[in-house]
Symmetry: C2
Subunit: 128 residues, 2 copies
C-alpha cells in the first residue's frame, strides 16, 4: 500500500473568489475537480468557521475511495492549503492526484504556490 | 502562516481492534486523542466504506480549529494511515500535533510505523 500525498500552500489568492468564503462554492469547485480527475468522492464535509464573519475562511474535506482531499482557506491572508492524498493499492492513482491538484491550483490562481510531493510508505503490507 | 504536517503509515495493526472497522469506535478514539492533545475539534466526518462487509475499513476526519486530523484504516492489510496537520498562525501548535500523533500511535500499537514530518510553507502571508 504505497501512497502519494501532494500538499500545496498558496499565497496571494484573490480573497473575493467565492470558494474562499462560501462553503457551497468550495464544495462545487471540489466536486467538479474530483470528477474531472477521475477520482471517486464517497463522503464530504464543508465547514465555515464563523458564518457571521465575512472574513471567515472555509474548510472542506472530500473522502475519496482513494483517500482524501482537504482544503483550508484564509481569506484574510489570501492563503489556501491543499492536500491530495491517494493510496496506490491495486492501481496507481498518482496521475489522477496530480490532475486534481492542477485543477484546484488553476481555480485559485495564486501568486505563489509551494507544492510538495510526499511518497508514503508501504508499511501496511499483509502479514505473511 | 507556517504549518507542521505529520504523516504516519502503520503496518501490523491488530485488525480486531474496534477502531479498525467501527466508525463509532474510531470517532471515540479521535475525540479522546484530540481533547487530550489540547487541539480543538470543530466538525467531523466518519465513514465506513462498505457497512455490510466485515472487512471494510473506516475513514475519519476531524476538522480542527488548527487544521485537520485524518485517519484511514485497512483491516484486511493491518494498515492505518494518520495525518495530523496544524497551522502555526499566531501560536505554535507543533507540540500538540506531536501529542495527538503519539496518542493515536499508542492506540493502534502497530508493528511498523513510518512517520514523516513536513514543514509547510509560509506562502500565505498578508499582501503588503
Amino acid at each position: 500500500m504505497q501512497g502519494l500525498h501532494l500538499t500545496a500552500d498558496l499565497g496571494g489568492v484573490d480573497a473575493s473568489l467565492a470558494p474562499m468564503r462560501d462553503a457551497g462554492a468550495l464544495a462545487a469547485l471540489c466536486h467538479a475537480a474530483v470528477a474531472q480527475s477521475g477520482l471517486t468522492g464517497v463522503a464530504e464535509l464543508f465547514h465555515r468557521f464563523a458564518p457571521d464573519d465575512p472574513q471567515s475562511g472555509v474548510t472542506g474535506v472530500v473522502l475519496l475511495a482513494e483517500s482524501h482531499l482537504a482544503v483550508h482557506t484564509w481569506p484574510e491572508l489570501g492563503g489556501v492549503t491543499l492536500d491530495v492524498y491517494v493510496c496506490n493499492y491495486g492501481t496507481d492513482n498518482s496521475a489522477k492526484a496530480e490532475a486534481l491538484l492542477d485543477a484546484l491550483l488553476k481555480a485559485f490562481a495564486p501568486r505563489d504556490a509551494e507544492v510538495q510531493r510526499l511518497s508514503r510508505a508501504a508499511a501496511a503490507t499483509p502479514a505473511v
